[in-house]
Symmetry: C2
Subunit: 443 residues, 2 copies
């Protein structure tokens, strides 16, 4: 999952480029290549997505429906919306929510600046919610801004880790076969109980699969299936692919998906989501400094130490000068962790410059941004009371920027007139400790 | 899951007390009642457990087999062993590990003081591993210390959250039916692919279940089944209940289990386990102080503040005096979080007393213990340099006790001569921040 808006793909055409003459695999590959720029002679597809989000999440055991449970203070559904809207060729995303959650949903869309989202009312069952979403896309609504897509994706609000290539595969397969869906191997053996609560028979695990999301359909196929669907199926059915099979004789193509496509169902799944997200946004650290000679030496040293200690993390360093051009690029590429080095000063000018840049960039809207503000103070020159004051000042700053989802942490290093290399390790220790995004002031 | 050794159950008889005249439900209830003491006229069962632990965990995507992956620095399998050995009526636990992991397993048993564990060599498949475990119990081994049980439990090393009542239910049902196993509702629809990778049919989710662990069998039934078992089934089979059905015509009783019985399979599951464990050991905080009048007032205030802020946490307070008798009980009842209050002193006598008691108790062998050492210092009386020294001293202490899995955190509060209630909130904030078991020194 790549957090944030798409890095390399630029919207040129509104749909993925698929040639109907080629096989599905070749088309998928060609589409991935053509994502970077339009290729002539290919037809583009109109694709929309429907997200049933009307469940109450009773298996979770908490009062908040799971799709609204916060992860790093942001509702789960927002991560799913982000994953879909960064796929430029998904033109509309229709979300079905219950009436009582409609306002909450609108405020989520506004706060996290989601785009291309339309809301419809959920039904009492998942199938009914999806049906309402399809109706909104069917263009038989008065004054409806949505246009009918050729392919519609169905995806759950509680599956936040859906990648573009998986979406492209199911869409490509749906174009060819009429329907397609992601599948995963079974983790447990599936059994069939008899009426007396005993084992009747067990299924061969290798011959079955778990049906997951995303799924995709030719719009006309799935809309027809829902229109023909019995009340019983609308009430008790759990499988859209089954509807396409039963009512339109369409056999869905099955596409292998990644483990991260699982559905958040239990409380433990929220913990897992949080950990996966934290891991993703801990991939890069940027060491920032002003251009003074001492600073450059220190930050270079620090960069080397961090690289050797955190070998799974990408470490870069940038200067705050030159209108921060390079730094702007780092921010655009979604680095969420910064170490700002200040030598021989306990003031915060450099850190404040960095914080201003971060606030302007909106980087912290979707994920928390961590800034470790490092200050080297000569032991003999700076009295302890001034150090205390500095610590207090950092704490005040931290409270302020926390409101904007920036986690500021101050590190004051008092050193005698000696080698400063050991302090690189001290910073490194602190950065490692802070890698669980803790905004505490440390000494 | 209750961490630590059993609190209230005392081993009087080696097996659960089941009366063969009663129905399974009544027997289970009677057994739970009799767990506290033997009841006359009831027969006890010899029960052993077999744990296949020979897998390589390839779906995890990390080189360490999942059962040996650390959670809070302790291998996953150790938590499962703990869950089983605290059930006093499981007489033997036979673990099957690969030859190359035999030494690692022995050191885990020694380090975490596991009891009643026997090791056998794993086979190349799960069924073969279980078969090896059963052979060790069958009493046809020379010089074997294990005795043949009447009931054998089969459970996975990677399912750490198994409760005694679930074990009792499957054992009781196995006694009556010959075989029994835990089941869970399906979370995803199960489908059957055709040879061309398309959907052939989907299964009705409500009519099927996921087969989980623990399972239990009359030893003679399952041992016979394995001895009759074809090579094909030993190689490719995934379901012990199926073997009992196929080779012994024994229809297993199915017992509904809790969500926490799931099998750790993917990396995200490790995160989930860690979070569940952390939640369990964060249920209680004990405020500890010496008997000085000021201290008692402060600790009482603190106790009130903590109770109101952390309303899901049990807060108690104890005195360090009287040879800490009451404190000993708190430790025995497995409280893992302590706040030690020192007023008007920056030394560590009280904290050191507490730390000694904790070290003698072995409480931190299985789970990390958190101690927040709080010191109130009068702003005017104590110079900043002394405060710095105090901080450094705490840090040295913390490094030392960390080796024994105790996370020491120091909190120095400088106050003017005023109400100390606000500082209760400051401590509370720190304790809340520390609730993710962070041993950092804070100011």
């Amino acid at each position: 999952m790549e957090p944030g808006p798409p890095g390399s793909s630029r919207p040129t055409e509104p749909g993925p480029c698929l040639s109907s003459q080629q096989g599905a695999d070749q088309a998928a590959s060609a589409s991935l290549q053509s994502a970077a720029g339009a290729q002539p002679g290919r037809h583009s597809l109109a694709v929309a997505a429907v997200l049933p989000a009307g469940g109450c999440g009773e298996r979770m055991g908490v009062p908040t429906p799971k799709q609204f449970c916060p992860i790093l203070e942001r509702p789960l559904i927002s991560y799913t919306l982000q994953a879909l809207e960064r796929v430029y060729w998904i033109k509309d995303i229709v979300v079905a929510v219950t009436g009582e959650n409609m306002e909450v949903m609108k405020s989520i869309i506004q706060k996290y600046q989601h785009k291309r989202i339309s809301l419809v009312e959920a039904g009492v069952t998942r199938h009914r919610s999806i049906f309402n979403g399809l109706k909104a896309l069917a263009e038989d609504q008065l004054n409806c801004k949505l246009s009918k897509p050729e392919i519609v994706i169905v995806h759950d609000a509680v599956r936040p880790f859906v990648e573009e290539d998986t979406l492209l595969k199911v869409v490509t397969a749906a174009k060819k076969h009429g329907a397609a869906g992601a599948i995963r191997p079974l983790v447990s053996t599936v059994i069939s109980p008899s009426a007396d609560g005993c084992l009747d028979h067990s299924l061969e695990r290798a011959r079955h699969r778990a049906s997951e999301m995303p799924q995709a359909f030719l719009f006309d196929v799935i809309y027809e299936a829902y229109q023909q669907c019995s009340d019983y199926d609308l009430e008790f059915g759990t499988e859209c692919l089954q509807l396409a099979l039963k009512y339109c004789c369409t056999k869905a193509k099955l596409v292998e998906g990644s483990p991260d496509l699982w559905k958040v169902t239990y409380k433990r799944d929220l913990y897992a989501v949080e950990s996966i997200i934290k891991e993703k946004i801990s991939q890069e650290i940027c060491v920032v400094t002003d251009i003074e000679e001492d600073n450059k030496y220190v930050s270079h040293l620090l960069e080397e130490v961090l690289k050797s200690e955190l070998n799974h993390v990408k470490v870069t360093s940038e200067a705050l000068c030159h209108a921060g051009r390079d730094l702007q690029q780092i921010i655009l590429d979604q680095c969420y962790n910064f170490v700002c080095v200040n030598v021989m000063t306990s003031d915060f000018q450099e850190t404040q410059k960095l914080l201003s840049m971060l606030e302007e960039s909106n980087l912290s809207i979707l994920y928390p941004v961590v800034v470790v503000s490092v200050h080297f103070l000569d032991f003999k020159l700076v009295p302890p009371s001034q150090k205390m004051e500095s610590l207090m000042l950092i704490r005040e700053f931290a409270k302020e920027v926390k409101k904007r989802n920036i986690w500021l942490c101050g590190l004051l290093i008092s050193y005698p007139q000696a080698e400063i290399q050991p302090w690189g390790w001290a910073i490194c220790d602190s950065v490692c400790e802070d890698s669980d995004l803790d905004g505490r002031v440390t000494e």
